[in-house]
Symmetry: D2
Subunit: 436 residues, 4 copies
């Protein structure tokens, strides 16, 4: 999803040794995510928006081969010339590509061959890293981009696998997990944030995607932001109040989407034997009232906010709050504890001015259309297609979710999806204008 | 397209006499627009986005009947109960409605019956105006809203008729017009505008739609804006440079739209016998190089800007420039001179710091997604559906076109369309960041 | 719908005077059908399968101009060159044509201009008939074809107008008619028909379409055919027995169509205030139990037959029965008595071996796929496209309906529609194999 | 594809030993077909018409479990209750089913689990066969049906795998095969067949599907049928004569299909470097002029026939010729010799009255719509859904192809597909009416 600027934090001293470590960690994490999956699981594509896991494994490797090996190997020969087309996602400058909705028919190369492709490129990347890392800023930047790119696909793997397994009436689990200990949710509180001219966008030398830059000033009015995301229990009240049958809460396009698709509740919710169940990566579980609601489209988040007498925050409000509002120390949910977890106990006693679960729980929809920051200039060449060309009819999400790699969790990170999509791990935190 | 705030300018003294005049002018203008059209022309619907002229004639009347007569007549009886459903556009609060793409099948009521409906409602409105105008602010506001609403439909009538006639291989004219005298275009110049915290949004007591409010402060960086819109000749150069075959200039969704719909040039352009012809309300005419290019989608405007090494202005930049940048006195094109006119001679000698053709030539796409202004609150009740629920996946246009009623031409007016639509009279004015 | 063979019956002596009479009668009947309709009614197209009445008026005229005037006028000049494209239905050999689903956007030429076109062609046809009729078999055949073609469009006009008016929630009437006097229906009886080698297809010198030829022998097994069509009351029993919810009665494609389109009863039936109403050309009326059920698709007719423990007849069975089975004298329903009429009283006392309502009540679906008869050869040239190229995925209907011109009512006439269409006036007569 | 009548030929003496042999042969053949395929290959579904190989493996097993074990095991417990839904193809009487276009998302159960399911059911079937075979006609018939059903899926596996591999731009082979030795084709000759009242339909005690019955009499006129199918070389001449650009040869629906889908040649043909290549199960090979053309839709077969001045045979003509016309001894192509083979040498010297390649080369389209034979009655219960409900908008093919199990090759066998499908192994043999 986007191109780099700045130096990589994770290569702090820029040494080849550190670059090797980092490369190896990221690549291994992807492999680990695919480990519970069979060759069949890795093959199937559940909808045009999603990709097969095998494709993710190959495409993230293709990225290194195409954008790094081809440039930095003096006698570059591709692993397989056909892969240039098969595993190109959307880079027009790189040439042709296999149509996205048809990725699921590519049974060849096999999963084993794709694993061999990964190993092969890793070996060649090691040689190139040895020679170049820390000696060439462009190289270091591309390496950082490639690794952050692969991390984005790690999250996509979990989104896509979850949707695939959901399409199976057996509702199989990706990994079984211990049920989280249930705890009372923290009360929802409004926290006032003063406005003014504030700085927004990526700062410092650490890695950031091109769409987070340039850092720039924005004028904000005072606003109030909720101390935590909306919970499943709160959203259930909206459902049970007829929220999905009352057009007055919905954007016109949202109402159309709800009618056309027969939405009655969030994706992955099922009403069985009189109770709500939620499908998770750990299988089907009862609704957990205190956990953040997840898998909302923008339309549903917006309708919920209107029903609540509130609104979505803008992305600038969100980022400013996250920078300034005493966020609680990060305690991200992990896959081991299930997909979502009740708010940790420490939070119960938290300072009333503290924002909870800002980073690493669920993505939070903002009301901001995804657009370039003032002065935005994508890098030259193919990597310039990373982000810029998608800045239309999408809305920004902030904060990261349990599936987001920890090093991506930062206030300036901009995720984005069309307003009708539901398969990303997205919830909502309410905002409002202060009563004067 | 939206609900009112503030008092009506056109009813400056608020007297019934003035309200009568204003009402009568606006209603007569609509009738005049339909005059050249046969019953058949008024019946047909050329696409789901467009409506039959007969439907416009009835719906604008329905608006007065439903939102004013029903409230202000003590013994209100509807002209025809079925019209409540047939001519409701999108007001969920008013109840059911006939599906939009099926408006063209409503051959009954006939055009004559719709004219009778107009006359009938006019007569009852006269009585109500007599009794209420100038004595009740809510009444005055609703009247202003109804009239401004009808004026918006006047422009829609011309858009929809043009598209309908275009769908006919005979390419018939709406009204024949004398060919405009051709003149050299003014050279394109960049005008620098300083940034800072500026005020944006509707000001004063005159009528404005709800989406123009509240007036609020925005922080702008310095920018440059072109002195005039892009011309047909300039856009032809883009076409002839392969602009429609080169994905590097296009947003991803725009490229998809161009491929799916086979776009090779703007809507209404035809390449015949080696030359470009343009279909206008006056029939098919040769391209006029010095006239503003029209009927661009957002995608085409954006691709052209990228090809030019420039960008679209934001709506705040545009409005600030229009407020502060010495706009030339209004000299709108009229239907008599054809749809578009070359730049008037007086402009040739104009001050280099003067913005030309800002208002009343062609709508100008901005890069701003259509969103509520900070603190926006739609009015209560059905008229609250006027604007707010459409604030998603649309982009703002500014300036008005030759078909926009003159009283709508103001810097704060926000028009909006989805990025792929082409049938509105929309062009583009370039912006860029200053070289430092 | 098809090309001619044999001489015209209606021009028995072949004299110009008789040809004039016949031409004038047919053309006047078309005009009469359009008389109750406004310009708006004649403009609209309610679905891609239907055409505007104005288009029918023009196309039937185009047929004479293109296939007769162009050939028989020495100095032929077309009325308007653009009409060649605008009003070509499907003749590839004649060149380009306006796309069928877009016929409703042709507001020009106006209805008045189309009427002028009709008058103009009529005048030129008179001159040509004077000169040629009775002197040239090819001419006489083409004239007969043109007139029979126009008669087919007369029935299409009523089908299309009915569908258009139905799409209007006002459910307006085409012509108001006196309610038919209700009478008890004749009991349904099975009539046995012996098989053997029988002759099928058009015989004699009278006009017939090419698809009715050649007459040929078919081997039939003994069968039983109902004495009358299925009634609305009988079909209501199927509906109320859950016929539309039970897949076991339906062809697989039929079940799909029923689910996809939400069929719950025949087209034009509405369940209002606990009772069934039917929309007719005379407006909405209560179901008449003894009248033949109408507007069934092939799928519904077939499902009903299966539910009844019977089947549809083949077209050869039907035609053989109609030739041999003592049909009652024709007493077609007329528009004056409403669209469908209860069985006439005389039938009550009828001979138990008499088939009732075979011709001119409702079209009756047969189980026969529309295919060429053995030895079928379409005529050379464009009129060869009349029938042959449609012989795929359509099913044959026999008998004619109240809207079919009387001179078309003959046992060999083959009508045909795709199995999912409902807007033709089609019912069903049951057949079955004799017990042992 | 259909339900049984008559006893099974392959169980001639009805002994359990023979039934075991037969069961084991058929089941092993299915396994053998899947052997060259990876778990990924068995997972993917290339289009809604096709199914994953894994699904075929499971569904054919489900058939035995549902229709035999459930009936004949006293203490039946299903292998997995969810399989009843997952692997039901289209039997409404059996209950719910997983939607066909979504079969490719069922990554669980895995291929290994499906293999275990096969083994498990095989073991239980062995016990039931031991107990019942030869002692109960209904049991024997169901067993025959189950085995013939599985054989039909063997052919579907090859069709579906071929289409899947074709969707991969790598065009991978299913099994590599030695190139067939090229030989000159036999000259095309017309063979006259006398008409009369002939018997059509399944005869004798051997197994036949329900749609082949009852045997009945048909009246045929004399006709001529080609001695062999149309070759690739002959079809290439049609392509190169502009056959795909000339509507005069096409049925109206066929022309639409050709335009909508951009057909320029048969499926699997590619024009590369100036020459035609054909994709086969053995990979991409050059066109073999003397081999039968394959993968024609009905529309293409019909257009070719018209271009040739001929027509398709009816199914009765085909079957009568196959019964009476001295067919050459069967020498079916095998997978080892590639998908299609030039005509064997022995044929060159053949009697001019001999029909060549009638059985086991390519399916041959007939002009007959798929319809029930007179007196057809599907068996009671769920297996009655096997064939009858598909008798609409499909056309009959005869003869079998190289992929058809040898025991299915008989003159009365009726295959059927919608006229626009291309992925079955279908060619064409010409027929014509004799010149008198």
């Amino acid at each position: 999803m986007n191109a780099t600027s700045g130096r990589m934090d994770m290569l702090a001293d820029g040494s080849p040794a550190q670059a090797h470590d980092r490369y190896q960690q990221v690549r291994a994490a992807t492999t680990w995510l695919a480990a519970p999956l069979s060759a069949e699981d890795c093959q199937a594509q559940s909808m045009p928006d999603a990709s097969p896991v095998k494709w993710h494994l190959a495409h993230s490797t293709w990225f290194f081969e195409t954008f790094m090996l081809e440039r930095y190997e003096p006698e570059f020969v591709p692993f397989d010339t056909s892969f240039r087309i098969l595993f190109n996602s959307y880079y027009n400058s790189v040439g042709e590509r296999h149509p996205r909705p048809q990725r699921g028919v590519l049974t060849r190369p096999s999963l084993d061959q794709v694993r061999a492709y990964r190993a092969h490129v890793d070996e060649r990347m090691r040689a190139v890293i040895d020679r170049m890392a820390g000696r060439d800023a462009a190289f270091d930047n591309l390496l950082a981009l490639g690794l952050n790119h692969e991390q984005q696909h790690q999250e996509l793997i979990l989104m896509d696998v979850k949707h695939l397994l959901w399409c199976n009436p057996l509702r199989p689990a990706y990994r079984r997990a211990a049920a989280p200990a249930s705890k009372a949710a923290v009360d929802m509180r409004w926290i006032r944030v003063e406005g003014g001219v504030v700085d927004i966008g990526h700062a410092g030398q650490a890695f950031g995607f091109d769409n987070e830059s340039p850092r720039h000033k924005v004028l904000l009015r005072p606003f109030e932001l909720a101390n935590r995301p909306v919970t499943q229990g709160e959203f259930r009240a909206f459902v049970e109040d007829g929220g999905y049958e009352r057009p007055e809460f919905w954007l016109s396009l949202g109402w159309e989407a709800a009618c056309d698709n027969g939405w009655k509740a969030p994706l992955y919710w099922e009403h069985l034997d009189g109770d709500w169940q939620v499908f998770t990566l750990g299988g089907r579980v009862p609704l957990v009232d205190e956990a953040p609601v997840c898998h909302l489209s923008y339309f549903e988040a917006d309708a919920f906010a209107r029903w609540s007498g509130a609104r979505l925050p803008t992305e600038a409000e969100w980022e400013h709050a996250a920078q300034s509002g005493k966020p609680a120390p990060l305690e991200p949910n992990t896959l081991e504890t299930g997909e979502f977890a009740p708010l940790p106990a420490r939070a119960q006693a938290a300072d009333p001015g503290t924002f909870l679960q800002l980073l690493g729980d669920v993505w939070e929809w903002t009301s901001s259309s995804y657009a370039p920051y003032p002065g935005f200039a994508p890098p030259a060449g193919a990597v310039g297609e990373y982000n810029g060309k998608f800045m239309c009819n999408q809305y920004v999400l902030r904060g990261g979710c349990f599936a987001t790699p920890a090093s991506h969790l930062r206030p300036s990170y901009r995720n984005f999806f069309p307003p009708g999509t539901q398969w990303q791990f997205a919830g909502v935190r309410l905002a409002r204008d202060p009563a004067h």
